[in-house]
Symmetry: none
Subunit: 155 residues, 2 copies
C-alpha cells in the first residue's frame, strides 16, 4: 500500500489538482456570471491550464532515450601490478620457495646473497635453482629469468 502511494504520487496529485480547480471554477461561476462571454474565457482558461498540465505530465513521464557511448581508452600499461600468476606458476610446477628464489635471482642477487636473505645455506639455494632450471628448461639463470618473464611468472 505504501509502495503504491509512492509509485502513484503523481497521479494522485494530478487528481487533487483537478478537484481543486473544479472548486475554484465553481466559485468563479457565481462571481462572473454577469460577464458576457465569460463562459468562453472560462473554457479557454481551463483548456490552457490543462494543456499545460498535459505537457508537464508528458515531460515528467516520458521515458528518456538512452544513448550509450563507448569510449575506448587505450592505456599503455607501464607496470601492471604484478601478481605471481598462479596459473602459469602451477603450470610450470614451480613451488612457492622456488619462486622466491627465482624472484631474488631476477633482482640480480647471487646465490650466496639469496641464501643470506632467506636464512638458508648456499647449497639449498643451489638445489632450488637447479630445480627451477629443470622446470623452466633453462641452463642459465639469465635464461631462466627470461623464460619466467615470458611466461608471466615474473614481472
Amino acid at each position: 500500500m505504501k509502495q503504491w502511494f509512492r509509485n502513484n504520487k503523481l497521479v494522485l496529485l494530478y487528481g487533487l489538482a483537478l478537484a481543486l480547480l473544479l472548486f475554484l471554477l465553481r466559485w468563479l461561476e457565481f462571481r462572473f456570471l454577469i460577464l458576457d462571454h465569460a463562459f468562453e474565457a472560462y473554457v479557454g482558461a481551463i483548456a490552457l491550464v490543462f494543456t499545460g498540465l498535459g505537457i508537464w505530465l508528458a515531460m515528467k513521464l516520458a521515458r528518456p532515450k538512452v544513448e550509450t557511448i563507448i569510449i575506448e581508452k587505450t592505456i599503455i600499461s607501464e607496470a601492471p601490478p604484478f601478481s605471481p600468476n598462479e596459473k602459469s606458476l602451477a603450470d610450470a610446477g614451480i613451488s612457492k620457495r622456488e619462486w622466491e628464489v627465482l624472484a631474488l635471482m631476477a633482482k640480480g642477487m647471487s646465490n650466496q646473497e639469496i641464501a643470506n636473505q632467506l636464512f638458508v645455506s648456499l647449497n639449498t639455494i643451489k638445489t632450488h635453482s637447479s630445480r627451477i632450471f629443470e622446470k623452466l628448461e633453462a641452463s642459465r639463470r639469465t635464461q631462466a629469468i627470461s623464460k619466467a618473464k615470458a611466461l608471466g611468472i615474473l614481472p
Copy 2:
C-alpha cells in the same frame, strides 16, 4: 508565407480544434443545461481532452530526452616496440656494441653464444661485459640486466 504555414501547421490545427470545441461546447451548453452537475462533467471533459492534447503536443514537439551513458573501456595494450632509449643509454655511457651484448645477455644467452652470434671471440664478449658491469655498477650479469631494465636501457 507558405513556409510559415508549413512550420506552424500544428499550431494552426491546434487553434482550429480549440475553436471547434468551443462551438461544440456552446451547443452542448444549450442542450444539457437542464442536467444537474452538467457543468462539472463538462469541465471534466474539457480537462481530459486538453490534457490529452497537451500530452500529445509535448510528445510531438518536445525534444526527446537523451540520457548519455559513457562507458570507458580500458584496453591494456601490448608492450610497445622497444626503442633503445638513447637518452638513458648515453647517460650510462654504454656504446652500441655493448648494448648489443647486454641485450643478448638479457635473452639468456651465454658469453660463448653471444660471441658466436656476433662473430667475435669469447674474450671480446668478456671485455664488453666487464665494461658494461663497470658502467652499470653491477657485479653480475643478472644484476646488470635488472639495472638496465630499471633504467629503460632494456625492454
